[in-house]
Assembly symmetry: C2
Homo-oligomer: 346 residues x 2
């Protein structure tokens, strides 16, 4: 996947690993993977030739072209990605919700009072409709019971153990196998071209960090997400960080640019999302000077994944679809832009 | 400064740039810079041979020795540094306080009411004692007037303009010239050995980011500091982030491990501080498993810099000095461990 094509003066070593300009040219010609010469390797083999792929390749070529009008120094090549529905699937509900349910079940023997206390009782009986009917207050109680009161390391362990064994309810696959192969290729391609890749997700920051590095190649310090409080204290003389219920960041909608500024401190030049929760992140990214690429992953493939947008309760996408054209945002069709959806089992 | 000495199998390219093991050996022999062979270059030329330098070199050698018992993968080589008093000076008061004073003076023409309103009136008259007598409430009013109500970009601009022109009141040097040459060498040496270097400071995150990359080689996303709120909104159709007075993180004492977990999500293996505000950061770093290096910069050089510790109002150091021996923390004497203090003017 790393093909040293050219090395113009002044470019960093990383700039030269892929030869972005060559690929942009191929994409513009409508060449498909496999049609390229034996000497070149397509950095995005799971992307069909088409406007989305061409736009990505042309953008990367432009910002890495030393001396070119759109050149961006490596330090400023910040790319941000929503997680749920952008890097991995989010149906029939956010995967973190399965973690909450499984944790409640695992913790139930230590909490006999949950047998009669809502929403725990309904959840333990498998009555999710009743849980949902309990509204936000009930969901916050479930979140508090599974995400607070333990040390940061205990929570990390509970996530790591769960993610290693839990299976998606309809596909039966591990959740970390329900990541999108075209997006893994894109992350790798960007990093090969000197980009720093960040997750900026409405999901919990501490829920994503334990597996994001292995799954996406994104280290903990490049994960931004919704954040609860932490309290430093000594337990038996040993320092610990206790997770508290304080909401430090709701990393959704207007919270996404806030999380970006707080954690990254620099405006991204590229942003990928899939729902209206990502609208402000794309808007903030696009409003900066110089070259920008904002894109929406459109879930329009009911055969290989799921088809949903305006009416979906999870990952609703309406405003973004309406605005994309006028704002110059790229809409990626999972159906026609991707040759495959999920990464091979690893 | 980069001397490729050896490249054992399995080490990354970065591991091999310095040849840390060779340097640890030289330091152990008590060799001074200049006494080493012509083929080797001291990565820390402003550090005198002595226990502090030997400890640093031995630590870096140990964690980068592929297959060694203390080997740490590059992704986990996180090093954190306090800023005020650790990377740059902090006397006669935190440099950010000079920024506040200068900003109040610059903004005064637009605020005629400040002529009679405290603590602004005292500050504008140069009566800092009266300002201090106003206590925390007065200082917060000054902070609010200079750090909130503007966009993140307007604030960044005000910092950049100030740092480019402001001078230290007694040395007359630009504040960014009052950084410690031995620490610049240490940051560079660590990065050359695959470490990721972070600032973790009680100072304002948005105050440090505009100049930290140029001054220290530390990009905005690796700066952790005290943080105020941000509010996303549209002004004339253009998205902006407005700085608000909400205290999101007080990155001092117990707040430092909280800031580390929130921003980095991984426990550092190395931490440098200089005051009791850094105590918990050193404690948190040292309490992790495997090799750890925690160190305190001791301001004991009244000739070349300042001499202060237990009784100082700025950068008070008492508990850390008392605890260092028993906890295995390295105490760096600016007087005897450093051949020079300040970086040459640039």
């Amino acid at each position: 996947m790393k093909n040293k094509v050219f090395a113009p003066e002044g470019q960093t070593r990383r700039d030269c690993l892929i030869g972005a300009a060559a690929w942009a040219g191929l994409a513009g010609l409508g060449l498909r993977p496999g049609m390229a010469s034996a000497q070149a390797t397509d950095p995005l083999p799971s992307w069909n030739a088409g406007p989305a792929k061409a736009r990505i390749l042309a953008f990367v070529a432009a910002v890495t072209e030393s001396g070119g009008p759109d050149y961006v120094p490596p330090a400023e090549r910040i790319a941000v990605f929503d997680n749920d529905g952008t890097l991995w699937a989010e149906q029939p509900m956010y995967f973190q919700a399965f973690f909450v349910m499984d944790r409640i079940k695992a913790l139930a023997p230590k909490h006999p009072e949950w047998k009669t206390k809502q929403p725990f009782a309904s959840l333990l009986k498998g009555d999710l409709k009743a849980v949902a009917a309990g509204g936000e207050k009930g969901l916050l109680a479930l979140l508090a019971a599974t995400h607070t009161g333990m040390t940061s390391e205990e929570f990390e362990r509970s996530v790591s153990e769960w993610i290693a064994t839990a299976k998606h309810p309809t596909t039966g696959r591990p959740f970390t196998s329900m990541v999108y192969q075209p997006m893994l290729e894109l992350l790798s391609y960007l990093r090969g071209n000197g980009f720093k890749t960040f997750i900026v997700s409405g999901g919990g920051i501490d829920f994503m960090r334990p597996w994001a590095e292995k799954t996406y190649g994104i280290p903990p310090e490049q994960v931004v997400g919704s954040s609860l409080g932490l309290k430093y204290e000594l337990r038996d003389g040993k320092p610990v960080l206790i997770k508290t219920a304080q909401l430090v960041l709701n990393d959704d909608k207007e919270g996404k640019p806030v999380g970006i500024q707080r954690h990254i401190g620099r405006r991204p030049i590229m942003a990928f999302g899939n729902s209206d929760g990502d609208f402000q992140m794309l808007e903030w990214t696009s409003a900066g000077p110089g070259p920008r690429l904002s894109a929406i992953i459109h879930h329009d493939d009911g055969t290989r994944e799921y088809a949903y947008d305006r009416e979906s309760k999870v990952g609703r996408l309406a405003r973004g679809l309406d605005a994309a054209g006028a704002r110059g945002w790229t809409v990626v069709s999972m159906k026609s832009d991707w040759t495959q959806v999920f990464a091979p089992a690893r």
